[in-house]
């Protein structure tokens, strides 16, 4: 009871609610695991051990070590593979969002600030792209340009910029009509100065919210591409790739696909909750209180 009422107080005061704290801890744990995990438990894609293949979780291996989550089809430890995969998946997610938000914010601000033909062209392209299922677009582009780390990030960024562009444009239109923008003009501010000092600061909160919501989607999209064999090359461990490789073994070695699948689900759910909570708290319309 005491804990419960304390939580309520925290939430009603402007302290951080559980909706942020819990998922943030989980996401933080993932980041930590991705950063230091591979150092503690190294994964060598070349170190196969046929005698240890398809061992279930909690099995002692030939070299005496214990495999917590079992081994894959060529006898590599699944936990080590997942930790290495976390690093790749999180890095791809972050890089994609940075790239997508750069493209999206740039185009959205230009469209919203100057309007006219640029606005029409950019937003029509965005509308058309939104009408097309993003994973199909990703599959199409990935099949054309082939698998590599850079390409996966490019492909995913191409499917994500629209969301950022729309938010950036809407926010730019709102801010542009504020008096302080006119005031800056009467003080001799250039367009660049207004964009940097008036528009961009107001974009930070809403873009952060969008990025959080998108993060989970991007990680799932990367996993989907890897699952379809259009993601990263063999030899670079990813969750999607491991899930894909394990699906031939679902009947006799369920852990290969299941373990990274669970890890992926938990991360995506936590990031989703985090995004939703942040959106509720940082409603873009309130940023210039």
């Amino acid at each position: 009871m005491a804990d419960l009422s304390a939580t309520t107080t925290l939430a009603s005061g402007r302290a951080l609610p559980l909706g942020i704290v819990l998922p943030a801890i989980v996401v933080g744990f993932y980041v930590l695991a991705a950063v230091i995990g591979p150092i503690l438990l190294g994964f060598d894609p070349v170190a196969t051990s046929l005698a240890d293949r398809l061992k279930p979780p909690m099995t002692a291996l030939a070299n005496g070590s214990l495999s917590l989550l079992g081994t894959d089809a060529v006898g590599r430890d699944l936990l080590a593979q997942m930790l290495a995969g976390a690093r790749i998946s999180l890095a791809v997610g972050a890089a994609t969002l940075v790239l997508a938000s750069l493209i999206g914010v740039a185009l959205g601000v230009v469209a919203g600030y100057w309007g006219g033909a640029v606005d029409t062209v950019v937003m029509r392209i965005a509308d058309i792209q939104l009408g097309f299922p993003s994973i199909l677009l990703a599959v199409l582009v990935a099949a054309v340009i082939g698998p590599s780390l850079t390409n996966v990030i490019l492909v995913l960024a191409v499917t994500r910029w629209v969301v950022f562009a729309r938010v950036a444009r809407a926010q730019t239109l709102t801010i542009k009509s504020r008096t302080f923008v006119d005031a800056s003009r009467t003080l001799g501010a250039t367009d660049a100065h207004i964009i940097i000092n008036c528009i961009l600061p107001a974009l930070v909160a809403p873009i952060l919210v969008v990025a959080t919501v998108q993060f989970g989607l991007v990680i799932v999209a990367e996993a989907s591409l890897s699952f379809l064999g259009l993601g990263l090359p063999v030899g670079i461990p990813t969750w999607g790739g491991t899930i894909s490789a394990g699906r031939s073994y679902l009947a006799n070695a369920w852990w290969i696909s299941t373990m990274p699948g669970i890890a992926l689900s938990i991360l995506v759910i936590c990031v989703g909750i985090l995004g939703d909570t942040l959106r509720d708290r940082l409603d873009p319309n309130l940023v210039t209180r």
Binding site: F180, T186, L187
Partner: protein
Amino acid sequence: MPPATPSERCLTVSDLAVGFAARGGTILALEDISFHVDAGETLSLLGESGSGKSVSAQAIMALLPDTAVVSSGTVRFDGKDLLALPRRETRRLCGTEMGMVFQDPLTALNPVFTVGDQIAELFRVRQGLGRRAAREAAADVIDTVGIPDARRRLGNYPHQFSGGMRQRLVIAMAIALKPRLLIADEPTTALDVTVQAQIMDLLGRLQREHNMAMLLITHDLGVVADVTDRVAVMYSGRIVETGDVRRVYDRPGHPYTRGLLASVPATAGGGKHQPLATIGGLPPNPQRRPQGCTFHPRCPFAQDICRTERPPMVDLGNGHGATCHFAREMVADDRLFA
């Protein structure tokens, strides 16, 4: 005060006409606007909302929205036609030569930077001062506009100031680079009555100290009387009367001015108590302005000629003029001002 010689002219607006693109053609928001402001002088643009006061200010400061079209006229500042200058050139004059104070101080400051940063940046970008020097200059200018403990408050954000203090900050930014022309667009409308007078005092003081030309845009006749040298009364996108503030208040040449003055409660010193008058009817829809004198449907003195012929600006002497067919009669009729 001796009449200003042309050399002291700061801002001259001639025959300015501004329209807004709308469905079914252009709506004229301003027509035949001509006035001038001299150094050290205050001109008030007086009128109801929608009369075109603010559009005039926007035209001068190049703040007109994209839908606006300047169809004729010139705005001369320092001998240069601002309307013909490239936008970049106009922006260069903004701040250093011309400044502007806005109606609502709550929204006129960037909420995401401290006031110190906002003001100091002006000095850094426009005057090339170093970080520390700019900070010093910012503190000085905040001190100038009467904000106590200026140095400490540099680090505060706009929302940490009261409404009156924020207007002082807006004024501080507008005069920071010592412009020669200050446009104040309803600078006291959003403020408490008690603060209004302080702000007007501050503007008056700054104007005197810097010998600025000031264009004051307001609907408040009381404010006009206190700080203004000359007044231009606007009605439905046109200037209907202009002249020295004393003369216009004492002997209005236009029935609209007269109506405005009559609608103000008599001050304690005025003596005579009259019932408070109002002007009947509403200003015309700018899309369907009446023929002849635009004020005739509301004018108690309207004659046939007012319905058909547009009145010219009638010169009433000493720079006083009014666009009324009967301006001279209005001024001469002492009975009316008994």
